[in-house]
Structures are given as structure tokens and as C-alpha cells.
Amino acid sequence: MTLSAYLPILLLIIISTIFAVASIFVSSKLAPSRWTFAKRLPYECGIVPEQSDERERFPVKFYLVAMLFIIFDIETVFLYPWAVVYQELAVFGLIEMVVFIVILLAAYVYVWRRGGLEWAE
């Protein structure tokens, strides 16, 4: 096994590292930064954890978004095997995947129109 076979992986690691570092750097430069007292608290969102009873009300939006993420995220699992054998599958694979994505798209339109993606009430 020659090491050159791992070259693309090395390149991928380098590119992704550069991308991650660059985006953090750029956003820190571009975003306006205003320091306030609340932001320096251990919990930046401003809610100080306290010994409250567990019956606290919590916003359901977090869960809704998390669930929508999981469901769309896991569907991409089927895109990976396709990507690997994309060449061999050719047109047949492409058509199959388009059908698959159209079904996902229908789900997306549904979620969107029903307000599942709106953060504000």
C-alpha cells in the first residue's frame, strides 16, 4: 500500500482545518463585538442556573428544530453510498436519487409552510 493513496484524505483534513479556522477568524473580524455584563456570565444566554424545581417551562422550539435536524440529517446517510459508486451507477443512480430527494423536498416544503422553521412565535 503506497502512502500516496492517502493523499486525498490528507488534503481533505488540511482543507477542512483551514476552512474551520478561517471561518472563525473571519466572523470574529466581521461581526460587531459589544461586551456586556450578561455575556460574561457562565451561561452566555443570560439564564443563571439555580436550584429551581424541574417543572420549569421550556421552549418547545429547541426540540422541534433538533428533531427536524435529526430527520433530515439522517436521510443524507443514503447519499454517501451513492456518492461512492456514483460513476458506476450513472444515470440509473441519478434518477433514483432525484426521486429520493424530491420526496425529501416535499417534506421540507410541508415543514416550511406549516411554520416549523419559524423561530419567533
Binding site: 417543572r55 426540540y63 428533531m67 435529526i70 430527520i71 436521510e75 443514503f78 453510498p81
Partner: protein, 102 residues
């Protein structure tokens, strides 16, 4: 690198599945019960992959994809149902579910 005999993986999967069954039966919190059920599913996934290796076919690994997706769909629907109840009752304890006999 030393090879681990596939039998050990099967034993591990069996153990994980058993822990899942026992946990799901003895715990009372709906979300914890569901986590044990997920453990059972993942034990089966491990089993699929191991059998796939023993047999030298990739079929088993493909089956894992389907199990993963089904588990995610199930998790989303199940958690949504549990969430609605928790919001109304402030408890995810199945024993507090009192309108029906458990």
C-alpha cells in the same frame, strides 16, 4: 494489529441487547426507557456488521443504514409524543401516567 475474533463482537452485542431489555423493563422514565430501546437497536446493528464480516458480504452493513434511519424516524415521533405529555404533566414518569392502567 491483532484480530479480535467475531465471536466476541456477537457476545458484546448480545450483552448490549440484554442490558437494553432489562433497562427498558425496570426503568420508569419514558425517555430513559426509550434510550434503552435505542441501545437494543444498536446492539442489533453491531450484530449485522459482525455477521457481515463473518460472511464477507456487505449486505449486513447496508441493512444498518436502514435500521439507523428507522431508529431516527421513530425517535423523532416518540420524543414528540413524550414531549407533549411532559409539557402537560411536568413528568416523564410512566407511573404518573394515571388516566390509563399501565
Amino acid at each position: 494489529m491483532t484480530e479480535v475474533a467475531p465471536g466476541y463482537y456477537l457476545a458484546l452485542a448480545g450483552l448490549m441487547f440484554s442490558i437494553g431489555v432489562i433497562g427498558a423493563l425496570v426503568r420508569r422514565n419514558a425517555i430513559v426507557i426509550f434510550m434503552f430501546i435505542e441501545l437494543m437497536l444498536n446492539a442489533v446493528n453491531l450484530m449485522f456488521v459482525t455477521f457481515s464480516r463473518i460472511r464477507g458480504s456487505v449486505d449486513g452493513q447496508i441493512l444498518v443504514f436502514f435500521v439507523l434511519v428507522v431508529a431516527a424516524a421513530e425517535a423523532v415521533v416518540g420524543l414528540a409524543i413524550i414531549l407533549v405529555i411532559v409539557r402537560r404533566r411536568s413528568s416523564a414518569n410512566v407511573d404518573d401516567v394515571s388516566l390509563l392502567r399501565w
